[in-house]
């Protein structure tokens, strides 16, 4: 939940996206997108497929470039820098890594490394990037697995874990780096319906602990319950933005209503219209 | 008065007797008459024996050609020469495929027992060829303790080995697949001398007077070259006629002129050759364009044999594949054995097997056919495996449907399985074709005039091996590139990623 400073004023945003635009050839995938994410704020991004949600999220981790605008992570420009002529050029990889060092990402396809156990997956970056000593890395990794409820499966290979368990390991892996921001790219879309719940549970726990999260999702229920802000993206534009209450019940934009109605028809079919 | 025909069985026996008699009669007809009647003399040889018989610019050249032209004029006969791999030549003579073997061959007691030699036409004493300006080798014994070379399995190599056995120290004798390879290594400095008959050595030295030189006197036991015919009564007349002509040519100086032209010295056929200054017989200037043209012509052989290998191999592969997939355990085992053998043994060994085995069995086929057989048999194994993958990829339900419709096994195979397997495995077939074109380069080892063999000939006659082989490589690249391009364009299939080789 949103934190506030000691004097009650809102804290400066951790992430700022300012007028970001990205095109793939003729198609405008992101069209003048602007928003901010404050500490401990949980933002859910919803919208039809092809609306640019994933691209936006991936840009925030700089797994995608963006053509114009700025993405600031804790006040620092991500992915680019100004050269001495005042032009925007691509920043060096080390600089990019530095700016996004407090950003963690969880993918739709989990992307665990199949030749390593769950524990090894979680500990890998601790050992190679943070260069923690082995014992410390091991302990922290085990702690993270415990936090997502999988300490007992630390020595299992991903092939032996269910989809939900793999995704939880993936969350642990990102958490182990002690990020300030966690990005989730449709974290439950690849899961069998019965397994979705355990992952959402973990995510709710994170939100409760005060983690700043940006989540691209189709789980409207989760958005309604856990999000502080919901953003509706349509054709690369931020079509609507606000509290869950506002977006789901008050905003009257036709495209948003259409989108939500489609969702309702598919998922709550027993509700009589 | 009417002649009463004999009874039925008697008539048959009589007919048979007449026919057999006629055949025997025909064979009993002496060869000279037979040749005169045909109007031509058929000569068998291997055209890889400079300066007697070799191919330059696609045409036969050499001492033999010139000699037989003269012979033909004198005896009023056309001359037809057949080019065969050496192991097939003598069996071919015995089988009556031609009248005489040119060669020529060295006169040995063992051969005299089986065949009839003409009068000698050249001095074949074995001598050493050294590098020009190599001051370490001034006489034959100077090769002691060094490395020398000869052609594998040749009588000249035998003499060399016997000679070095009498020298002090260990002299290594390296045996090459043919003399040209040995000469190339001599020029490169890997060996200090090559042993071969004097005419050949002298010719090579005259071609490259600043690279090679002959070591005199020849170290071998005096021995002579002659042509060879069958040793039966029928052939006597022919050989006698040839001998008469040789005497005539010796008397009027034509023989000596030919010897001077090709061996750089007239060789008294019964004494030591005189030492004359060697002029270079025949020009050897050729444009690089002609080189490429030769290679492209040879490419036809390569492509042709690859196509045969693919087509014949495919037919055999269908049989092998169905054997492997059959319910009969022995069929499956046999099929598996075939595939395992032909994929486990190197193609070179398979080629040699077919090449040497067939004459053994009495089947004398030209080297091209022997190579084609070997290549087809080998390719069949690989194609069978690919087809098996294709067959297994056809949903089982289709076979069940065919069964229920009472389609015969053969019909099911030909109309349902093979067409679909073909489609499924088409990408692999393109890469198989590419592999086949490359593998076909090995047929050069058994003497087929493909791209590689032609490159070897060019390297031997132009003394520019790098250019020759690089050009050959280029031609192969073009062929393979075109095949891949064709695969992309016509079948729209990308190169299959899973099959690496």
């Amino acid at each position: 939940m949103l934190k506030r400073a000691a004097d009650g004023a809102p804290l400066p945003p951790l992430i700022e996206v300012r007028h970001v635009t990205k095109s793939f050839g003729e198609v405008r995938v992101l069209d003048d997108v602007s928003f901010a994410v404050r500490p401990s704020e949980v933002t859910c991004i919803i919208g039809p497929s092809g609306s640019g949600k994933s691209t936006l999220l991936r840009s925030m981790a700089f797994l995608e470039t963006y053509d114009s605008g700025e993405i600031l992570i804790e006040g620092e420009l991500l992915g680019y820098r100004m050269n001495r002529h005042g032009q925007r050029v691509r920043a060096a990889q080390s600089e990019v890594n530095r700016v996004r060092r407090h950003v963690g990402m969880v993918f739709q396809q989990f992307n665990l490394w199949p030749h390593m156990t769950a524990l090894q997956n979680v500990a890998e970056a601790l050992l190679r990037v943070l260069r923690l000593p082995a014992a410390q890395a091991h302990d922290r990794a085990l702690g993270m697995l415990d936090r997502v409820g999988l300490a007992a499966r630390a020595d299992s290979y991903p092939a032996r874990l269910s989809g939900g368990q793999q995704q939880r390991v993936a969350i642990a892996r990102a958490l182990a780096m002690e990020p300030h921001i966690m990005l989730f790219d449709e974290p439950t879309s690849a899961l069998d319906p019965e397994l979705v719940g355990e992952v959402l549970q973990v995510m709710k726990g994170l939100a409760g602990d005060g983690m700043t999260m940006v989540i691209v999702t189709h789980e409207m229920g989760f958005a309604a319950q856990a999000a502080d802000t919901v953003m509706f993206l349509d054709h690369g534009k931020v079509a609507a933005q606000g509290t869950p209450e506002h977006l789901f019940h008050q905003d009257t934009q036709p495209r948003l209503r259409q989108f939500l109605q489609n969702y309702l028809d598919r998922n709550a079919f027993w509700v009589r219209a | 008065m009417r002649v009463v025909p004999p009874c039925r069985p008697c008539r048959i026996l009589l007919l048979a007797a007449v026919l057999i008699g006629a055949t025997l009669d025909a064979r009993a007809e002496d060869q000279l008459t037979a040749v005169r009647r045909a109007g031509e003399l058929v000569v068998g040889t291997e055209m890889q024996f400079a300066p007697f018989d070799f191919i330059e610019n696609g045409a036969e050249q050499g001492f033999n050609k010139d000699f037989f032209i003269e012979l033909g004029k004198d005896l009023d006969l056309k001359i037809r020469t057949i080019d065969l791999p050496w192991p097939s030549v003598l069996p071919g003579l015995e089988a009556g495929k031609f009248d005489i073997v040119s060669g020529p061959l060295m006169i040995t007691e063992a051969r005299k027992a089986h065949y009839r030699f003409t009068l000698p036409i050249a001095n074949g004493t074995v001598a050493l060829l050294k590098r020009y300006g190599d001051t370490r080798i001034n006489s034959n014994s100077d090769i002691a303790g060094r490395v020398v070379g000869g052609a594998k399995g040749s009588a000249q190599s035998e003499q060399l080995k016997q000679y070095v056995a009498r020298l002090t120290g260990t002299t290594t004798v390296r045996e090459y697949i043919d003399n040209n390879q040995a000469y190339a290594d001599l020029a490169a400095g890997r060996i200090v001398a090559v042993a071969n008959s004097l005419p050949n050595i002298a010719y090579v030295a005259s071609q490259r007077p600043h690279t090679f030189a002959v070591v005199r006197p020849p170290f071998g036991t005096p021995v002579y070259y002659a042509y060879l015919g069958r040793n039966d009564a029928a052939s006597k007349t022919l050989i006698d006629a040839i001998d008469a002509d040789i005497r005539a040519m010796a008397a009027d100086g034509r023989l000596a002129a030919l010897q001077k032209k090709w061996f750089a010295a007239a060789m008294d056929s019964h004494g030591d050759p005189d030492t004359a200054v060697p002029p270079a017989p025949g020009g050897s200037s050729r444009a690089t364009l002609a080189l490429l043209v030769l290679l492209i012509e040879a490419a036809r052989t390569t492509v042709f044999i690859s196509l045969i290998g693919l087509a014949a191999g495919f037919v055999i592969a269908v049989a092998i594949c169905s054997a492997r997939l059959s319910a009969n355990r022995w069929c499956a085992r046999l099929g598996g054995l075939y595939v395992s053998f032909f994929r486990g043994v190197p193609l070179l060994v398979q080629l040699l097997l077919v090449y040497y085995f067939l004459p053994f069995l009495g089947i004398n086929v030209p080297p091209f056919l022997a190579a084609a057989i070997a290549v087809s048999l080998c390719e069949a194994a690989y194609l069978a495996e690919i087809l098996r993958g294709g067959f297994l990829g056809i949903a089982h339900g289709q076979l069940e449907a065919a069964q229920l419709l009472n389609l015969s096994k053969l019909a099911t195979l030909m109309r349902i399985q093979v067409p679909q397997a073909l489609i499924l495995t088409l990408p692999s077939l393109i890469s198989e074709a590419v592999m086949l074109v490359k593998a076909s380069s090995l047929i050069s080892v058994v003497g087929v005039a493909d791209i590689t063999r032609t490159a070897q000939n060019i390297a031997a006659s132009t003394y520019r091996p790098l250019t020759a082989y690089a050009a050959a490589g280029l031609v192969y690249l073009i062929i393979n590139g075109s095949l891949s391009f064709l695969g992309h364009a016509v079948f729209g299939v990308p190169e299959p990623a899973r099959k690496v080789v």
Partner: protein, 225 residues
């Protein structure tokens, strides 16, 4: 024409056969080592370096895969002296085998690298692992297991190609046995022995490869995709 089989020739030829077999094994293993090393180096460099280097390496691979091994061998052995490189037959044979194999191994490794899902690499990038770390810790271990069948196949191919070295007088099995065959007119015995020898070598390599594959596959499952 009757075919006789005189086993005594083989018995007499045993020492020569053993020497030939030793050379075949030596050349084969050396060629494989050289080829794998070269192939791996090429695959890694292609992952790390820029466009020009990649194009150059691609040209090398296409060249050596598009031309026959025999022609390559001739260029190295007979063409070598033209640019000052007169290698003895054994060295030329091993180098040629290594260069030829290297091109094929490079393609196998490249294919292996490509079959690793991009997502795993992105996850590693998001966790800020360096390019080298990603290659060494994530891609390489998986790739080596994926390419095992192709590697076994290539090792077998190289075994059979050692026979071609006989053409440039390397005293391996084919050279030795065909020499005895021509000398003693014993084609049947020697050629059949030759077949059996290669067959054994290839079977051994095939079984070994399969055993290694089975051991390694325990680790690699379908998780994470």
């Amino acid at each position: 024409m009757n075919i006789r089989f005189d086993a005594s020739i083989l018995v007499d030829a045993m020492p020569a056969l053993e020497r030939g077999a030793a050379i075949t094994l030596g050349v084969w293993l050396a060629g494989v080592a050289l080829g794998v090393g070269l192939g791996l180096a090429i695959a890694l460099i292609r992952l790390l370096c820029g466009r020009w280097v990649r194009t150059l390496l691609r040209a090398y691979v296409e060249l050596f895969r598009g031309t026959p091994f025999l022609v390559q061998l001739f260029i190295l052995y007979y063409g070598g002296p033209s640019f000052g490189l007169a290698l003895p037959p054994l060295v030329a044979g091993i180098v040629s085998l290594g260069l030829y194999g290297g091109a094929y191994f490079a393609e196998a490794f490249r294919s292996g690298f490509e079959s690793i899902p991009q997502g795993q690499i992105e996850a590693a990038q998001a966790l800020r692992l360096s390019r080298l770390q990603i290659i060494m810790r994530i891609e390489f271990p998986q790739m080596m297991v994926i390419v095992l069948p192709a590697l076994t196949n290539l090792v077998i191919v190289l075994c059979k190609e050692t026979a071609v070295l006989s053409v440039v007088t390397v005293p391996e099995l084919t050279f030795v046995l065909t020499g005895i065959g021509t000398e003693k007119f014993a084609f049947v015995e020697t050629l059949l022995t030759l077949c059996v020898c290669y067959w054994l070598l290839v079977e051994a390599a095939s079984r070994t490869g399969l055993a290694i594959e089975q051991r390694m596959s325990r680790f690699l499952g379908k998780g994470g995709c």
